[in-house]
Point group: D3
Chain length 69, copies 6
């Protein structure tokens, strides 16, 4: 499947924290650059995500904000 979301950053799963409905996944997309996702527990299971696995962090452009110091 090819998706319209502008951002699909390839990386490695660093941590997974499972809750009742949601699961938090941390993926390192470059050395020292991590992105945290909160997805449903069933989605995490369906993708069979585990620490060390290659995965993409996918973000729609309209969900990205900009900030400056």
């Amino acid at each position: 499947m090819k998706i319209s979301a502008r951002n699909a950053l390839k990386g490695t799963v660093k941590a997974i924290d499972v809750g009742a409905v949601n699961t938090e996944v941390v993926v390192e997309v470059a050395p020292g650059v991590e992105i945290t996702a909160v997805i449903t527990k069933s989605s995490a299971e369906r993708l069979d995500l585990s620490v060390g696995k290659e995965a993409y962090a996918v973000v729609k452009a309209s969900d990205v904000m900009m900030a400056i110091d």
Copy 2:
């Protein structure tokens, strides 16, 4: 201001494309790793974003999806 959004990736603005209401901003957060944001034109102006400027791409964890090949 310190924000709850889990993801604030520091980078350099690579491109800005201005529309009627929205503006698209591309920021490079690591060599070859780019994130695209669509924000309101007035927000881009308020932050005074320009190509080459340092900026953060900020994303709430619940807006990040995971994908695998």
Copy 3:
């Protein structure tokens, strides 16, 4: 690519309306059931979307609200 987004509804593109930065796409996922997406113009071009083409409307579960009459 296999994505964590819980909702990927297959359908047919019914209409496309192109703006300066964004494009609005209407996809029919069942007879009389339509979903409208606003994506960046460049994403619509990258997917080569056109009226009559098969496509999926993809939505993260945390972006869906419920309502009753």
Copy 4:
């Protein structure tokens, strides 16, 4: 209340899974076409959602992505 969200798909609640803060709701909007929502537990209670009840899945157009095979 009449809302700006472009997508309000009428259907029947098929499943409800209650967590600590969030609740997952599955609604069938056409035969075989299901949409999953994650809403706060208190919102699910306020709407008095239960399996078999008629309900709408509501999605803002800017939260819908497109994908192709």
Copy 5:
């Protein structure tokens, strides 16, 4: 329609700025407290929004971030 979105703040439309696909709407929900929405142009037209009109700014709780000084 009764919606699951936790936040529905009643106010008065202060400004409307129409783009090609999107429209920006500013609503004052308390004296000096304004919320800006970007919705599709067709949604703004469907609601017949105009300056001075009463309207609600509706936000899903998972789309709200917290920040401190």
Copy 6:
């Protein structure tokens, strides 16, 4: 940090409800006007949010919908 999100409403934390992965925070931005946020538990801890503390509810304009009676 100065963020592009158009909406940053200052208020007082009224309630905090902690779940396994997520935490729900209610902030009063004007007398009788409350906004509810669902953020990750670790973000709530990082901001050291507590009832009575001053905080901002931050919302991207593209995540705000409009509604009328």
